[in-house]
Assembly symmetry: C2
Homo-oligomer: 217 residues x 2
DNA sequence: ACCGTACCGTACCGTACGTTACGGCCAGCG
DNA sequence: CGCTGGCCGTAACGTACGGTACGGTACGGT
């Protein structure tokens, strides 16, 4: 007996993708209180199909999380002429992208259910979100950091330590406050400003010996 | 008709406190899946009493969160002879305390249920945890930061911005990873090291014009 | 001795929801 | 045309759990 549907392969019917998108929408609206019936109704499919495709409620949630994760992939940075300007803009773009994702409805909803199910779970949603959230971010950023170090633009011993500092400077208390229900409406302008500030602070700590940067004015 | 039990006053019987401690323990063990029956059994009290005292399940959870919050109060800093050393040690102590609380079982469990209930909630647990978590931390730290600025030891425009940067440098990805189920066993030594590193980085950004600090190796 | 109050233990009720089963519709195909 | 298989819609089942009711006990006040 196989585990019904494997999302890592693209073994998903268009129909099934539609169903998962419906589940995603409901997850955003209703959080973890979504019912199998509501998903079936929203997607205009039968509960029988839901159980045939995804096994059980947990399987549906897992498939939904993985489906969303598979949509966010990609966007690596490829460096040719690499200098301080491209490092800076790379960090800024990365920070802005990350803040945009974090503050989006979908990310907040998925992180909420994953946090709620963390640990005591068959398919451990927490691990999946962890893998496709912070860890994926680390994997995407580290090459840029190491390139910066190799070219002598920034200095650190542990890549992981540098990454985590950058993470802290970018995210700060934004994510936990959003998860706890604080509105904190991040405008596009505020995101760009935060991304620049975080990058300047990071460069002040690890970068060329400029004088330390303040809070951005 | 009043709302059953007011935790802000100490209008709690010893018996009721015992019940809330039992609920807290169950929350740590079982998360949001704790049932009224399980609380009654663990606390050796009747469900009738639970409903008389706390109204409903939500009221019990709310009272439990507030009860825990009321235990964490206090520990303000009072400055007499204030210099760079006392600012540094104040920041370090603060950071270490915060990391210790954050990584404790109780904090993780409470943040999990609060995140799960955020928004769609009668007694909005998310707001309560927000108030007693990040916001309380900000209220406790800001006087120290402002004292530092008044005495010319550090420089910033917005106290809130300075606080949030410190928050980011201290917490980094620790909290979200813990909430998502990452073990990440923080030893006492690691916490002290992180507290010192975060403080040094903060001072490098906002403080006296020393050269920027690295990641502490 | 009697009453009211507070509480425990437990049985009970109602309901929501996960899960399963069934009947009907439609498409592809021999 | 009739068979088969996949899917929809819906009804039904089982259960877990929130919430309530009730009998029994201890205790303080009068």
């Amino acid at each position: 007996m196989q585990t019904h549907v494997d999302v890592s392969d693209n073994a998903l019917t268009e129909r099934q993708k539609d169903v998962l998108d419906a589940a995603l929408a409901l997850l955003v609206e209703a959080g973890d209180t979504l019912t199998m019936t509501s998903v079936a109704r929203r997607a205009s499919c039968s509960k029988e199909s839901l159980y045939k495709w995804f096994g059980d409620r947990d399987g549906l949630l897992t498939a939904t999380v993985q489906w969303q994760a598979s949509k966010v992939r990609g966007v690596p940075v490829d460096p040719e002429a690499f200098n301080l300007a491209s490092l800076t803009s790379g960090l800024e773009r990365f920070a802005a992208d990350w803040l945009r994702v974090l503050s989006g409805n979908i990310s907040v909803a998925l992180n909420r259910v994953a946090v709620g199910h963390a640990g005591s779970d068959k398919h451990d949603l927490g691990a999946i979100v962890l893998e496709n959230g912070p860890f994926a971010m680390a994997r995407r950023l580290k090459p840029l950091l190491q390139l910066g170090r190799d070219t002598g633009l920034i200095h650190f011993h542990e890549t992981d330590e540098a990454f985590r500092t950058f993470f802290g400077l970018v995210v700060r208390d934004v994510q936990i406050r959003l998860l706890l229900g604080d509105r904190l409406g991040l405008t596009e302008a505020a995101i760009d400003r935060d991304a620049r500030r975080a990058t300047q602070q990071f460069l002040a700590l690890y970068g060329p010996h400029t004088k330390p940067a303040g809070d951005g004015h």
